[in-house]
């Protein structure tokens, strides 16, 4: 039987429907900080910052790396419109670590030409990927 506290979660990307199901809680990182959502949340639209997406189903929690997009939160339904989102098994750890090192390097040796915003986003993404794996 369906749990009363569950709500509908859809994670959609341009290429596929990433996740669809009834969940207990969902957590992710927004531009304003990390938030967790239960059923009955105030309707809200938030913008995603790179981070870990945690989906708590009835009996288990699943992690994924969520990099960009926005979320529409309604009282009984949450829709994540993600530009990039990955399950742990889709992530190449070596590549993520290399990307992290590269981004850190760029931030350390910054010149006027460095696109700091971009380097920071790259760093956040790499960190999100590594966090999902560990």
């Amino acid at each position: 039987m369906a749990d009363e506290r569950n709500f509908r979660l859809e994670v959609i990307t341009p290429e596929r429907v990433f996740y669809e199901g009834d969940v207990n809680m969902v957590e992710f990182n927004t531009t304003e900080g990390e938030i967790g959502i239960y059923k009955g949340h105030v309707p809200m639209t938030v913008i995603i910052n790179p981070g870990v997406l945690t989906i708590s189903e009835a009996d288990r929690a699943r992690n994924a790396a969520l990099h960009a997009g926005f979320v529409e939160i309604l009282q009984d339904k949450v829709t994540v419109l993600a530009e990039i989102v990955e399950w742990p098994e889709e992530i190449d750890k070596a590549r993520a670590e290399a990307a992290k090192a590269r981004a850190e390097e760029r931030l350390r040796t910054k010149t006027p030409e460095t696109d700091i915003m971009r380097a920071e986003t790259a760093l956040q993404r790499a960190i999100a990927r590594i966090n999902v794996l560990s």
């Binding site: 341009p14 596929r16 927004t30 309707p43 639209t45 419109l81 530009e83």
Partner: protein, 290 residues
């Protein structure tokens, strides 16, 4: 009447053309299946994206945001999605017609071409093509759409173009494809409100934004534009293959018809020559026996 040898040669040439069109039809059928699946998979995203943006704008009230007002420039940027290859029936020319016969003044149009055929045709008509992204049509990725939308939005922000349109071929089903001209920016508030009002009446609590409206729009509108461009790309690819499949199908059946006709002519010519030979032999024999 053409000689037997001429007819035979012509028949042979049509047969080999038919083999090619048949093969092309099979290839585009397979490609169509793939493209169709992709289009269907990504449809969800665009529907949600569209609904979200529409409801956002409807609830956001009268925000004074640059993306909601036409720029100062008279220029209109049009992203034109066509194919890199021909032999797809009216697929490419329909899109080109949409622009040449539309209400645009030629001098005001700035073309961002995706697809060689459309680019070349518009250049021939004397339009100015600003950017060319023809490589991405074969296998459109979301990151490609991001690149295009970034460029277009930059030009919009710099005031080089005042409006942005997208010309693509909508994929209704395998046989129906609609050349479509869509206004991307400034977002058409009137249309958005019209669509949203039905939804808004049965609506629950008002939507909140985090961060506040202006900054949220700043971030969401580019994503909205990107997703529309990507959606246009995916649908256009599906339409292209559908159009090519149809064109090749009718080419194959036309070749079939011509071959039938030529076979008939050939048989007639053959029969004629046999009859003639017989007449000659009989006449010869008669001449001897007399």
């Amino acid at each position: 009447m053409a000689s037997m040898r001429d007819i035979k040669r012509r028949k042979g040439s049509i047969q080999s053309t038919q083999q090619i069109t048949k093969a092309m039809k099979l290839v585009s059928t397979v490609k169509l299946q793939k493209a169709k699946q992709r289009a269907e998979k990504s449809k969800n995203y665009f529907r949600c994206m569209y609904e979200t943006v529409v409801s956002m704008l409807a609830k956001a009230g009268n925000i004074n945001h640059p993306y909601l007002h036409p720029g100062n420039s008279e220029k209109k940027g049009i992203i034109v999605i066509t194919s890199n290859r021909g032999l797809a029936g009216g697929y490419n020319s329909n899109i080109v017609k949409l622009i040449t016969q539309g209400s645009f003044r030629k001098e005001d149009v700035v073309v961002y071409a995706i697809g060689k055929k459309g680019r070349d045709a518009l250049l021939r008509y004397g339009y100015s093509v600003r950017e060319d992204y023809s490589d991405i049509v074969e296998e459109p990725l979301y990151s490609d759409a991001m690149e295009v939308s970034k460029k277009v939005l930059d030009d919009f922000a710099n005031g080089e173009i005042g409006e942005i349109y997208l010309a693509y071929t909508g994929f209704k089903n395998t046989v129906v494809h609609e050349p479509t001209l869509l206004k991307l920016l400034p977002v058409d508030l009137g249309a958005a409100e019209g669509e949203a009002s039905g939804d808004a009446q049965e609506n629950r609590a008002p939507m909140n934004f985090e961060p506040e409206d202006d900054r949220a729009l700043d971030m969401i509108i580019p994503k909205y534009v990107t997703s529309l461009i990507f959606g246009g790309l995916v649908e256009s690819v599906a339409s292209e293959n559908g159009a090519r499949m149809q064109a090749m199908d009718s080419a194959t059946s036309n070749a079939e018809e011509m071959i039938d006709h030529l076979t008939l002519m050939y048989n007639r010519a053959r029969q004629g020559s046999i009859t003639q030979e017989l007449t000659e032999i009989i006449a010869g024999a008669n001449a001897i026996s007399m």
